[in-house]
């Protein structure tokens, strides 16, 4: 090894740390992140440059790692909507949106560091993934920042620093159970649950339990599994032994295929009702799985059928897709990203109408936002103070059908069962 002065080594390390990781303090906006305070007319604010006419927003999403298949199309959908808005003149026809995308690698410390990286330079940010939203939330509260919560977890509903969208997991199963009992001959049949470990699984089971009370049935068997499991004979076997006619499933695409496959192996073919993250368009390209899915799988998620241009939201999304992401194949996660951008645009337009894009202004916009329609792409959401917030209570029931774009055919569009409407969220 060449000899080198260790003092130079040390200095090099320190300089590297300083230079490489960040610039000096107080360059972008103010330290505390507070805006200039209430005053008449629009003024510069974090992420908002009045003179240049731009609003900068950030999206923190997993673009690498195990859930890259969800993060990438989500970002594409988000960008497509923003591009469409910009093409029509921008927010309120005046301000162009700049999107900063960061890869949180589905790692919580990374999410937190990226939050610190972007927070002073953006007006609003969007987050994806329950543990990430949970971890960033205390910082959002302390900094007075609002973020969109890309996760169908019901815990966000009452948080004023979070703007969720879509129908929560509990709602999906409440509506799904109602559909199964009334429209699919499920009355008197045996209903079971198979849940992935984690908040998704728990939320789904909670919804099914609420449905059991509301619709007077019992859950015969609940089995659980982990995302990394590769072998499901034991769990599916238990469901088979319990003679389940319908199994409500929460999981990820990598587990849905093996689970249904195991069922087929054991000659156990209930109706599998899965929540949104259980599905992937890739299943329609699998000759082994497609017949199985078409016969015995049902997906519960938001929105109309892909290509259903009777819904203005779908028309708009398809137009933006053709123009800005023409290579994008039909994908429910693209749609989820598109929805997230729609919610963000509604928030920003409200803030512009209140003439305040500072931190306080965004919070106030969220407080007075009221009902937001997604053009039928998902159910309506009512934002506002915690007591008034009301999530979407609407779910669409899909069946896989390879002939349809995206592989999904809407069997029951925008179902809103009484049990789903009556469900009480959070403390």
């Amino acid at each position: 090894m060449r000899t080198r002065s260790p003092r130079r080594h040390l200095v090099a390390v320190l300089v590297l740390a300083l230079v490489a990781i960040g610039c000096g303090r107080g360059t972008d906006g103010s330290d505390s992140g507070e805006g200039p305070g209430p005053q008449a007319g629009l003024a510069d604010a974090p992420g908002f440059d009045l003179a240049a006419g731009t609003i900068r927003v950030a999206l923190l999403t997993p673009l690498s790692g195990p859930v890259q298949v969800i993060g990438e199309p989500l970002l594409a959908g988000f960008r497509a909507h923003m591009a469409g808005i910009n093409a029509k003149g921008g927010i309120a026809g005046r301000f162009q949106v700049e999107v900063v995308a960061e890869d949180n690698q589905y790692d919580v410390p990374t999410s937190l560091q990226l939050y610190q990286k972007v927070k002073d330079g953006v007006t609003v940010l969007a987050l994806v993934g329950t543990p990430h939203v949970n971890a960033v939330l205390p910082q959002l509260k302390a900094d007075g920042v609002v973020a969109l919560a890309g996760s169908l977890d019901a815990n966000w509903i009452k948080e004023i620093n979070l703007v969720p969208y879509g129908g929560p997991y509990q709602i999906q199963f409440l509506n799904g159970a109602n559909w199964y009992l009334n429209d699919a001959g499920g009355r008197g049949k045996r209903i079971c649950a198979m849940a992935i470990e984690g908040p998704y699984g728990d939320a789904g089971v909670a919804g099914l339990e609420a449905a059991a009370v509301a619709e007077s049935f019992t859950i015969e068997q609940t089995v659980r599994f982990r995302a990394t499991d590769t072998e499901f004979t034991a769990q599916v076997g238990q469901l088979a032994d319990a003679r389940c006619d319908a199994v409500f499933l929460t999981g990820l695409p990598s587990t849905t295929g093996p689970i249904l496959g195991t069922g087929a192996k054991l000659e156990f073919t209930p109706l599998w009702l899965g929540q949104s993250p259980t599905w992937s368009t890739a299943f329609t390209k699998s000759p082994e799985l497609l017949p199985l899915f078409e016969k015995s799988f049902v997906l519960l998620t938001d929105g109309p059928e892909w290509g259903d241009e009777s819904e203005p939201g779908m028309r708009q999304m398809l137009a933006d897709l053709r123009q800005f992401e023409p290579d994008q194949e039909p994908d429910i996660y693209f749609q989820a990203g598109y929805l997230e951008a729609m919610a963000m645009v509604a928030l920003l337009e409200k803030a512009v109408s209140l003439e305040d894009l500072s931190r306080a202004g965004i919070l106030e916009a969220q407080r007075t936002l009221g009902r937001v329609s997604f053009g039928g792409l998902a159910g309506e959401w009512t934002y506002g103070p915690p007591e008034q917030r009301n999530p979407s209570r609407v779910t669409t029931v899909f069946r896989p059908n390879a002939a349809k774009p995206g592989g999904l055919e809407a069997v029951k569009k925008n179902l809103s069962a009484p049990s789903a409407q009556a469900f009480e969220f959070g403390p």
């Binding site: 000899t3 300083l18 303090r25 360059t27 673009l63 890869d103 937190l112 977890d153 908040p199």
Partner: protein, 350 residues
């Protein structure tokens, strides 16, 4: 030590103190958050390095102890509202006790066998964190504000002489102060009888027992210390992040700790700290620089390019500096210490 070496060390110490005080005043919250996480990982890595680099044992279970500490912080800090010195001490006790239990396995097992059992410890942890909501909040995790005051200084809301500091600034001082304290404790341990016993066990276990060293005690104590420091890191993590989810304490996290110790250079005190800074900062550095690379049309996303570059950097670094950062430094300084055998050799082949 000769006079130039003493002078050099003093210069280094002064430079470090200046950096400690001045960095939060010069660097933005983003850089500080990177350094805070680096500091948290450094605390845990110092503990792991004592176990791996000094006592010659092996552990892939460090994530478990970090989890233990996080839940001590949650329950005693956030839920019970106990003061920071109390929950830090409790983390030391909990981590140390559980570490000693794991250490008992090391009396019978070696090398890959011991390593895999420590992997099992992580999985037992994941099982407990997910299925015992009473202490962990279950699958959804749990959040809260743990008190972070030392005397008159409240690091959650630092206000000194009329000047308010951001949370990132305050926690940088708190965390890196703890890093210094941990390093001091570790340095003392290494020089103590216990440390020398560890050294002897690492070099030649049979000979060590032949000359009267209590090998069992040395091993168990090494695991206990590693567990204690891992738990301290976890409790500080919870104090800073204010949330803990059950799946964060995964095998992947354990591997990150091992990587920090190895890249930093095991068996040398500066190693874990340097490793934590470099491995914590490099991904962010790569992200800043990769936007300038012309990769459009190659079918490679920026995110994947970042992962690729990070992996290549690690491989190249280890290939050219197998003693780690600290090892390279030692070799540059020359002298007796550079002749020390790197950790992992000797009778035990892990």
């Amino acid at each position: 030590m000769n006079a130039p070496a003493v002078g050099r060390n003093r210069a280094v110490a002064v430079a470090l103190v200046i950096a400690y005080v001045a960095l939060p005043l010069a660097v933005g919250d983003f850089g500080l958050s990177v350094l805070i996480f680096a500091g948290i990982f450094a605390i845990g890595a110092i503990g792991l390095d004592l176990l791996v680099g000094h006592a010659g044992q092996i552990s892939l279970g460090h994530a478990f102890f970090m989890g233990v500490g996080a839940y001590v912080g949650l329950n005693l800090g956030a839920e019970a509202g106990l003061a920071m010195p109390v929950w830090l001490a409790a983390a030391v006790v909990a981590g140390g006790g559980l570490g000693a239990v794991v250490g008992l396995c090391s009396l019978r097992l070696r090398g890959a066998y011991l390593a895999i059992i420590t992997v099992g410890v992580v999985f037992v942890g994941l099982y407990v964190w997910n299925n015992v909501p009473a202490i962990t909040g279950g699958a959804a995790g749990a959040g809260g504000d743990a008190p972070a005051s030392l005397g008159p200084l409240d690091f959650n809301r630092l206000d000194v002489a009329g000047q308010a500091y951001s949370r990132e600034q305050s926690w940088f001082w708190l965390v890196w102060g703890l890093v210094a304290a941990t390093a001091a404790v570790a340095a003392n341990l290494v020089r103590s009888r216990t440390g020398r016993a560890w050294q002897a066990v690492q070099e030649h276990e049979l000979a060590a027992s032949a000359i009267g060293i209590d090998v069992s005690r040395a091993k168990v104590s090494a695991f206990a210390v590693a567990g204690a420091l891992g738990a301290v890191a976890g409790s500080v993590y919870f104090g800073y992040v204010q949330y803990a989810g059950p799946d964060e304490w995964s095998l992947f996290l354990s591997v990150q700790f091992v990587a920090i110790v190895l890249v930093g250079g095991s068996g040398r005190l500066a190693g874990p700290v340097l490793g934590a800074i470099v491995l914590g900062g490099t991904p962010r550095l790569v992200e800043q620089l990769s936007v300038h690379l012309p990769i459009d049309g190659l079918g490679l996303t920026v995110a994947n390019l970042n992962r690729l570059l990070f992996g290549l950097l690690v491989v190249c670094f280890v290939a050219f500096a197998p003693g780690g950062l600290a090892g390279t430094w030692e070799r540059a300084k020359g002298g007796r210490r550079a002749l020390r055998r790197p950790a992992g050799e000797g009778e035990e082949q892990a």
